[in-house]
């Protein structure tokens, strides 16, 4: 209950203020009041500072992460310099560290996954965003599909990798045996397939939201001109949502680039430039996961941290660009 801020003093009481007892009573009352107010003010001040500190912690956290990665990369940068980025050889024995195999592995798997998943995530996005949008109470099945997509998007990476090892890898192995390739089963292709499966629910959710955001007036205007459903989608919805979808693609790419566990389990853990999509390889994330706990020499550890820095920068930039485009799109 808020305290009354003003005590009610009648005129008669005010006029008899000459009586000292009265005066002292009202004095102590106003002093108690003043102390109650300043007490609340102090609590307010503390509270505001607490909020500020929490915000500052978040800020310092990100700065500290960035600094840690940079400081950790310095020994490697001093040893290898710029050649790090196009060095083809990753040899911990002779301490020659080149990042090209991992850059190639990361970019290959991520772009291939994106390419494979695009038609599928787009179709789910259109299905759930345009044909059966939420909130209309239209279709129970569509609601179930939406829930299922959300749930599948939440499956942890390590479980995808586990499933991939036991179902996808034998499948790819059979494919390789048919095409007379070394039947490893693991490799760039398998990693791309698993990444594609992981991106689809995520991209579909994003796409659905974006397509949902297309203003109804535009669509209704097209319908009133006699357009069919498909023509509305093709000439109104998709062009309007084009930037948003592009941003969704960027965000999915960012997610794919940073995926660690599923990729580590099915990519074959070989630190060489992949020759074709059936070869085993490594990505930035998977080589760190594999070799971090054993990098005994200073330069080795620092080279791994430098890979982490590259990964951090690339995923962050792509993520931020995607987010910026979506923000512009939705206003």
């Amino acid at each position: 209950m808020p305290e009354p801020l003003l005590t009610h003093t009648s005129d008669k009481q005010l006029s008899s203020a000459s009586s000292s007892a009265e005066a002292s009573r009202s004095d102590s009352r106003s002093r108690r009041l003043a102390s109650r107010i300043s007490h609340a003010e102090r609590k307010d001040q503390l509270f505001r500072q607490a909020l500020l500190i929490a915000g500052l912690i978040v800020l310092c956290l990100v700065i500290a992460i960035f600094l840690t990665l940079i400081v950790g990369s310095i020994p490697s940068f001093r040893a290898t310099g710029i050649h790090f980025f196009w060095g083809k050889v990753w040899d911990p024995v002779t301490e020659v560290f080149g990042a090209l195999p991992f850059l190639a592995g990361t970019l290959l798997t991520s772009f291939l996954a994106l390419f494979i998943s695009l038609p599928f995530s787009l179709s789910i996005a259109i299905f759930l965003g345009e044909y059966f949008p939420p909130g209309k109470g239209k279709n129970y099945i569509a609601g179930v599909i939406r829930e299922a997509v959300e749930l599948i998007a939440g499956i942890p990476s390590v479980i995808y990798g586990f499933w991939g090892l036991f179902v996808l890898v034998p499948l790819v192995r059979q494919l390789e045996m048919k095409w007379n390739v070394l039947p490893y089963g693991v490799g760039i292709l398998t990693a791309s397939l698993i990444l594609a499966l992981m991106i689809i629910p995520y991209a579909a959710s994003l796409g659905r939201e974006i397509i949902n955001m297309v203003p109804a007036e535009l669509k209704e205007a097209a319908y009133s001109l006699g357009a069919t459903r498909w023509e509305v989608i093709r000439h109104v919805v998709l062009p309007y949502a084009r930037t948003g979808i592009f941003a969704g693609i960027l965000l999915s790419l960012g997610r794919a680039l940073g995926e660690t566990m599923a990729v580590t389990m099915v990519i074959g853990n070989t630190s060489v430039l992949p020759k074709n999509i059936f070869s085993p390889g490594n990505t930035l994330a998977s080589v760190i996961a594999n070799e971090f706990t054993e990098a005994a020499s200073k330069v080795y550890l620092s080279a791994l941290i430098e890979l982490g820095l590259v990964l951090f920068l690339v995923t962050t930039i792509i993520h931020l660009i995607g987010k910026r485009i979506i923000k512009q799109f939705s206003t």
Binding site: S121, S157, V158, T228
Partner: protein
């Protein structure tokens, strides 16, 4: 009407209907492998679940039997500790951001939250190793929890800020006009009204990190024994799944499927909880 335009119209309608069919077909086609994954995990995992699965510790290499008790308890502890660490910072930062919709510092903090959203989990693991494991001299559940809480923050902050922002100004002004101090206005008026969004943000962030393995690889390390000590190494479900999945032992594969099923159920329950909270406790202004 002109005959051609009728034919033309029917052709367009046919195209539209066939596209609808194609999209439906592609959707089902896409969902098939995804649903298959779910069913596969459930089928493999159900076979492993029994009472000893939950209560026993893993047996030595090559021996059959054993359970996941230490990993289950370890996951609960690590996730619980991470949540405790993340909630004060997350909620208070969200409050700060919602109280300062403009402002340069708030803008920078929002930018940092975006950066945290996109950070790969393995990088968080590197950082946590550098900050906690090396200086402390040992692997610990605590360092794993810190790594996980870093990943929880952005989801928590974003969801909470979204809900807090919707709090109408007239309610806030009414409270302040009644003489309620600022901090009480926030804590006893604003927060309870936004409880559904804040809570669901917390629960969603938990659902996000229960399955994370990469940050725990170099921090919590793993432990074949049941342990409650947060400054010692601790096992967890995702670590168990990873180690057992790449092993050659069938008995370990069995255990890993069971653990995967447990993890999925956990995530499903958290999602359901979020939906219930949003439905029941949402405040409409």
């Amino acid at each position: 009407m002109h005959l051609n335009s009728i034919k033309h119209l029917r052709r367009r309608q046919l195209i539209s209907a066939s596209i609808r069919g194609t999209v439906l077909f592609f959707t089902v086609l896409t969902l098939l492998p995804l649903v298959y994954i779910l069913i596969y995990i459930i089928k493999q995992g159900i076979g492993a679940i029994n009472w000893s699965f939950f209560t026993q510790l893993p047996r030595p290499v090559g021996e059959t039997g054993g359970g996941i008790a230490n990993a289950l308890v370890g996951s609960l502890i690590i996730v619980g500790l991470a949540t405790l660490l993340a909630i004060p910072i997350g909620i208070f930062s969200a409050l700060y951001l919602s109280e300062h919709p403009q402002g340069r510092l708030a803008g920078m903090i929002r930018f940092c939250v975006e950066v945290l959203t996109g950070i790969p989990s393995i990088v968080v693991g590197i950082v946590a190793y550098d900050w906690l494991v090396k200086p402390m001299g040992s692997f610990s559940a605590f360092s794993g929890s810190v790594a996980l809480s870093i990943m929880m923050l952005p989801i928590m902050i974003r969801s909470a800020e979204e809900t807090l922002k919707r709090f109408p100004t007239h309610l806030r002004e009414a409270s302040l006009a009644l003489g309620v101090p600022y901090y009480k206005t926030i804590l006893q008026v604003l927060l309870p009204c936004s409880l559904s969004g804040v809570l669901s943000g917390i629960i969603l962030s938990v659902a996000r990190i229960v399955g994370e393995t990469a940050p725990l690889l170099f921090t919590a390390f793993g432990n074949p024994y049941l342990s409650f000590h947060i400054f010692h190494p601790m096992h967890s479900l995702p670590l168990l799944i990873y180690n057992y999945a790449i092993s050659p032992y069938d008995s370990w594969h069995q255990l890993a499927w069971g653990a995967a099923l447990v993890l999925l159920c956990w995530i499903l329950l958290l999602n359901i909880l979020t939906r219930m909270i949003i439905r029941k406790w949402s405040v409409r202004y």
